[in-house]
Symmetry: C2
């Protein structure tokens, strides 16, 4: 029987921060990654539209025979995880639950901040998930729309990133949070800037790191790759050039083996 | 015979700066505007993908019986205008030619700057069009990827916009340009900031204003609306909420009559 792959998907390059963690923890696995670069970003789009796109990416990966689906996108996790879990018979892992669990475990003063896209923040998914862990935790959320372009343009360390972070985070700092969830897979690139703005007392939770640990745990159910060769293949919906160029900063290495695909032949 | 409408399309809200000019000059016309909000933005996508999207928006408008197509998007004009002109039998007006003609007429020292999206700048469409007007003109172009999110988030006047503009425009100022083309329909919202950074000696060319004049001229061929009532209807591919909210700043008035549509029933 051939080894089955782990499937991950995102709107574009953001999910590569999660893929990087998965590669680090599971170098022996075969990984398939879909970036929906013809329709990126998801963060400013409606739940209905993001749900439709997420189902198309997931269906494509399921047709490739993956043993597990990882929604490597906060916006899609926030609005589509229930739909995906009910449609597909393999484990579906989103980034909201792992990040929320970690934040709930870390906070001491029970005040947690969440930053993400407009879509993620509006959905309230993090606030609900954190309160499921501990209803006494107060959650303060804010959208940071400039962070994605800053990360993609290589301006994560730019003076502008510090000013934007200062402005976005001020209400969260004023609210007295001791823990901040990076609720967008682009944001790990801004960690240095965020640390500088937040100071030493506020801890960052990287949903990508937490989710990669859940992927490892889920392998116990679906079976690890025994041949142990390890490989990564990328599928994108626009031509690969920009994905390869911008993505290398997110993955921390060059992106080999990128194919352009039509997710749904009846519905490109 | 019923009056025929003028059709305009863009990836989202940016083209509303051009629509605003068309409404001002032609208040008696019936206007149909398509914003492809489910797949916005076009500026970071490949020419192939943008061309496919542009043909879908144009086909939708042609099915509504429009008498003229206005490509209210610089990226789509840059990569799809020839394809559109050859596919459709009605006049097709893009924003590149009118802006380029105006810039060529205005420059005294024959040094013109062009700012736009990654896609527009990479296409070289403005440089070619300006040089067709006058081959002696030197064209310096640069992409300004943060300007679109800054305009959409209402941060066009923000300190960050000034810093970003200073950085993007420095090479153009150093090159000695006396004229700058705003090669993206979002950029008119940043005029104040751009004027402040460029100083009084560099003139701005607003492609939206120039294109609206060409729309007026083209009415001589296709016939003006004689009933003279005037109306605007918007079609968007994602749910209308965000388009209405963000778009009002671009149009300078509230957006009434917005419908969500599937551009191509076989290919949503």
């Amino acid at each position: 029987m051939p080894e089955r792959a782990i499937g991950l998907f995102d709107s574009g390059v953001g999910g590569l921060t999660l893929l990087k963690e998965v590669i680090r923890l599971l170098p022996q696995e075969e990984l398939l990654y879909v970036g929906d670069t013809a329709r990126v970003p998801y963060g400013t789009k409606s739940p209905e539209t993001v749900r439709r796109y997420a189902v198309e990416s997931a269906s494509f990966l399921v047709r490739q025979g993956v043993k597990m689906l990882v929604v490597a996108c906060n916006t899609a996790s926030a609005v589509a995880i229930d739909e995906l879990a009910s449609q597909f018979k393999i484990p579906v892992i989103g980034v909201i639950e792992p990040g929320s669990r970690r934040a709930a475990a870390l906070t001491i003063n029970r005040k947690v901040g969440v930053i993400g896209t407009e879509g993620t923040v509006k959905s309230g998914a993090y606030a609900r998930a954190i309160k499921r862990e501990n209803p006494a935790i107060e959650v303060v959320s804010t959208a940071c729309p400039l962070f994605v372009p800053l990360a993609e343009e290589g301006w994560a360390d730019h003076q502008i990133a510090y000013i934007a972070a200062g402005e976005y985070l001020a209400p969260l700092i004023d609210a007295g949070i001791d823990t901040l969830v990076l609720g967008c897979t682009h944001y790990p690139l801004l960690k240095k800037t965020l640390h500088a703005v937040l100071g030493e007392k506020i801890q960052l939770v990287d949903s990508a790191e937490e989710t990669a640990k859940v992927v490892v745990e889920t392998l116990l159910c679906v079976g690890a790759n025994r041949s142990g060769k390890g490989s990564v293949h990328f599928f994108v919906t626009d031509v690969p050039d920009r994905f390869k160029r911008v993505g290398s900063a997110f993955l921390g290495q060059n992106l080999q083996s990128v194919s352009q695909v039509i997710l749904n032949p009846h519905n490109p």
